[in-house]
Symmetry: C2
Subunit: 265 residues, 2 copies
């Protein structure tokens, strides 16, 4: 019986995987993956058998069961199995179900952490998720519940919403209901960590305007203290924070995509 | 004028840095670092000049100013400067102040994200930070404020406290005051990602008992849904969640340190 390594691939671009994750891929006999963000990840395990478990062919209701079964079977047939997950396996990665399936089958496993999308968005936009004084806590959640209900809280100094790209207008309404002032800064980042990443600045009240810009791209939405830009020259960050909201409507400011990646320097 | 790369080193063990971060180190002429968790990180930039800016010799009040000044000077003298930070630069990394200093000096920079301690602790303990149904949101905060005041909230389904190792008794009291039931599961992980990582299970009411075990080690404390173990065999996780607390006192269960790392397999 083999061992399963849950590996966080990072937010997309292959070079945001950890060195430990890359080493696990290099040793893998079989790799189970969902939608593969960067085909270059395959180069890290060129001889492994790559199984796409994110296929739409599965009947939706049984998809997770099918993945669990394939994982258990792979561990019966191979020594070194990698289950590759986007971002970090422990954050919105459905890791619990797969850990349970392996535990039930008595199969050993290990989890290799990865860079979750919120961290990549913060790095891309140079907006630290925690700030001295004004941003002591940050919460991660999905805007959409399992039952399809949209929810937004105001629980921490900053809130990061995953998988919210299609729900920006509704998210704006929910944030207002959750007592976020209309002028609270919101930073929207899509395809963080890629050369074509897009970063745009909005306000809670006018967040819907971000929808067209980021349409069809993996999107992270940051609300509150962590959405403020950092700059000594303009220094609007601290004064615009949630405690002293700017209530002017804003169409949003789009930052140009970062064109450089370290490997091209 | 050079460019500064803020690089997240990950939670400790050198192989938890990203591939992009390792490449940045390989190109660095100078590396500014605080306490270096793993000396093996130096092997990623053997020819660079390594500057320890975490030295206790600095006058505490001016320490951040001194680091800012050294960073600006390094960028004036070198093309490729790496500012290495533990974990992820955007989470409790004092990134804001250093970004401001560079912006004021007109110096270009880039942020390479890393694995933050909460993710490493979740991976080490195999406790996903989000759970279907019971764990939709997770919040990160420091237990201790800048002014030395201890605070603990109950804002998300799960709360992760950084740098709480020395404050476990006080944290227990604060959690009770913040309406967490005494029987709520707490998972304490120290030196996550290392061969000698320690994981122990507790309850909010008896968290103080973890203090001796993890004394003097970098410690992450997870409270709520994400602290529950995952196992189909025993399956206590969901029933013990915060909604149906087990109020029995518990001395805590210590899991043996994980002895395997991928590179040793």
């Amino acid at each position: 019986m083999g061992k399963v390594y849950f590996v966080g691939a990072g937010p997309g671009s292959a070079d945001l995987i950890t060195v430990r994750g890359a080493k696990a891929l290099a040793q893998a006999e079989v790799v189970l993956f969902d939608a593969l963000a960067d085909p270059a990840l395959r180069d890290l395990a060129p001889l492994a058998c790559w199984l796409d478990v994110g296929k739409r062919g599965f009947v939706h209701a049984h998809k997770q069961d099918s993945i669990n079964a394939m994982l258990v079977r792979a561990a019966h047939e191979h020594e070194f199995v990698v289950r590759l997950k986007g971002g970090d396996p422990s954050i919105f990665g459905r890791l619990e179900e797969e850990l349970e399936a392996l535990a039930a089958a008595g199969i050993d496993c290990e989890v290799v952490p990865g860079v979750t999308a919120a961290l990549a968005a913060a790095a891309a936009s140079k907006r630290p998720l925690t700030r001295r004084g004004s941003g002591r806590s940050v919460a991660f959640s999905t805007a959409m519940t399992h039952s399809g209900e949209l929810r937004a809280a105001r629980s921490a100094d900053s809130e990061v919403f995953y998988m919210a790209g299609r729900q920006l207008a509704a998210l704006s309404r929910q944030l207002l209901q959750a007592s976020w002032p209309a002028g609270t800064p919101v930073c929207v980042v899509s395809r963080a960590g890629w050369p074509d990443q897009l970063i745009s600045d909005h306000r809670v009240g006018t967040l819907a305007l971000a929808a067209v810009l980021h349409a069809g791209r993996p999107t992270v939405v940051t609300v509150g203290a962590a959405a403020c830009g950092v700059s000594a020259a303009t220094a609007p960050a601290r004064t615009i924070a949630a405690t002293a909201p700017d209530t002017r409507p804003s169409r949003g400011t789009v930052m140009p995509p970062a064109s450089k990646r370290i490997e091209s320097i």
